[in-house]
Symmetry: C2
Subunit: 360 residues, 2 copies
């Protein structure tokens, strides 16, 4: 399968191609050169980020194609009129997953003070940690990242989401350059299997610890706080890791951290799906999964910053909403019976647990 992805350029894709593990999908830029003034052509660090996220996409898609066994992901390459574009890969109605999607987008352009504040509301100046100054006019920006949501059919197999991204503002016309990294990965089961939650956290902790033992405790807590459905007082799932506005160390070091976390995704998640995908389930368990899918929709449409930002700033709707489950359910005032397995799951979303007994 070959698709045209003009904004990514021949060299970027060729380089990413060399990192595929077993990808049955090949993305190739055909017949059109990337514009000479594309930010990734000017700046080796930006190109490196782009390649990093493309390679994450291809590694993950390869793993999902393998476990799902239902054939290739659909690939949509798109261009953004005002700069950049993306590649969205989706498999709907597979053998194991009702919907699985991995999307890369690398967009650039300029925006005004309002959008600047929206994007950089909590970031500090790289290096110094000083507050950022609100610019008076338009400033250039570059945003590149990969995001993915995967919903299995089986109510005993958890949903997994991850996202890794790089953001840069300014660096031209007297506006100081502000940059930061963000991302994370989290697990959303409909039924609690403690050993699954512990496994997912442990593999991520191991990846974090290779860089700095302080990172996992901090990012585990951040994840619980970030994926909170505030109007329910429930977290979206059993957490994982999350970070944002990260710019207090070397850029190469942060990208190496992101790469190790992304490499952890397959060993952290695929064995859980392998274990649960053929587990027997009842109609009532499927219905509970559908109610939990409704909560997933609530979080993504009401709170998720990427979704809100994307939908309100003319992003590609289908790429943004590929995170939606195939189906979802809302029952008025549904509360599972006390002591049930459904109530057990709710309890853990209402009081996040310290899965690895790190004492934090």
């Amino acid at each position: 399968k070959r698709v045209v992805a003009p904004s990514f350029g021949v060299r970027a894709v060729a380089a990413a191609d060399t990192k595929f593990k077993s990808g049955r999908t090949e993305i190739t830029q055909v017949g059109k050169e990337r514009p000479a003034d594309h930010p990734c052509n000017e700046d080796p660090l930006k190109r490196k980020a782009e390649l990093l996220y493309l390679s994450m996409q291809h590694n993950i898609v390869s793993a999902f194609e393998e476990i799902d066994g239902s054939g290739d992901f659909r690939v949509d390459a798109w261009d953004r009129k005002t700069g950049g574009g993306g590649v969205t890969m989706v498999k709907q109605g597979g053998n194991v997953f009702e919907k699985s999607g991995v999307a890369v987008s690398c967009v650039h352009g300029s925006f005004g003070p309002e959008a600047f504040v929206q994007a950089a509301q909590s970031v500090r100046m790289p290096g110094t940690g000083a507050p950022v100054e609100r610019p008076s006019g338009e400033v250039p920006f570059f945003a590149c990242g990969v995001s993915s949501v995967n919903h299995p059919w089986n109510p005993h197999a958890p949903t997994m989401h991850f996202n890794y991204r790089y953001f840069e503002i300014g660096g031209k016309d007297g506006v100081p350059k502000i940059w930061w990294y963000g991302g994370g990965a989290d697990l959303t089961p409909s039924y609690l299997y403690e050993e699954d939650a512990i496994h997912f956290h442990q593999v991520h902790k191991d990846a974090c610890d290779k860089h700095d033992k302080a990172l996992y405790p901090k990012y585990k807590k951040w994840c619980d706080e970030y994926f909170l459905i505030k109007h329910r007082g429930e977290t979206r799932g059993v957490g994982g890791i999350f970070f944002d506005d990260w710019n207090d160390r070397d850029q190469e070091a942060i990208m190496a951290f992101q790469k190790d976390c992304a490499d952890a995704l397959i060993p952290a998640y695929i064995p859980l799906v392998e274990k649960r995908k053929d587990q027997p389930f009842t109609e009532a368990e499927k219905e509970w999964q559908q109610i939990r899918r409704g909560r997933y929709v609530e979080y993504n449409l009401v709170y998720d910053r990427g979704t809100q930002f994307g939908l309100r700033t003319g992003g590609r709707t289908e790429s943004i909403l590929m995170s939606m489950p195939l189906t979802a359910r809302w029952e008025y005032d549904h509360e599972p019976a006390a002591g049930s397995r459904e109530a057990e799951l709710l309890k853990v979303t209402r009081t996040p647990r310290d899965w690895l007994n790190i004492g934090a």
Copy 2:
């Protein structure tokens, strides 16, 4: 069926009771007097608004109980800790409706300048039309309204939503009193039946025309603009009427308008459900309805001001989200075949029609 609704008070409910048409559900305040300083005790106009919305709720619930024929609505009366409360009536899994809900809430208290701006962002001073001044501290508010969403099972029967409300800020401690009315009713079919859309609009136009012939054209257009799913470039359905910030005429006159519009709901909507509820449908038609339900969820969670305001300010989640359909579906990049009945519906959401040929 008798429920406790302390914040509504004996007299309010008794008065509303006298207006019930055929309600099988009776709300009665038992054993607790409403606080003497409740705003509805002090101000005949506030009490009148409260009674108006309670009577709308009971008329509509009576009509729905009759056509659904599956027994009583569930009734939840709730109190808001910091002032006021509400009565939510929901029927889930009926014969005709998968979910039907009508909720009244009357809340009061005080809020700061931020919430003031949020609530009164586009309102002008009553009478003079002058801009409102942002207060420096806390200001009292009173908000009372009824809202309803009704999702039938049959994909040929349309969803109907309505909401009528009154809002008041200030009027104490040197803060000038600002008040306004808002509301409307709109129809969301999965399949277009022109005659159904025309009927719904005509009955509403007749109600509007009794008061002022300028109202329907203005409020029809406002409805198309308000219920726009911006990231899709689609309206939620085939429209109806919508207005907000209304305070340029006598309060009694606006309430009389709201009452006539609410009285129009049963003749505007129930005959459409009657006509379509037993119409045969295919599995593919049911699936298209589910995709349209997904769009409904997108509008309500991403754009609806009442939902956003309620969820972010600690409203009763189950009453706010009673508007969610029982089930919904999201397919990646779904586009119906050209010339199909599904494409016909989409077309009308992308280019709103002048159903009554009013030339506006």
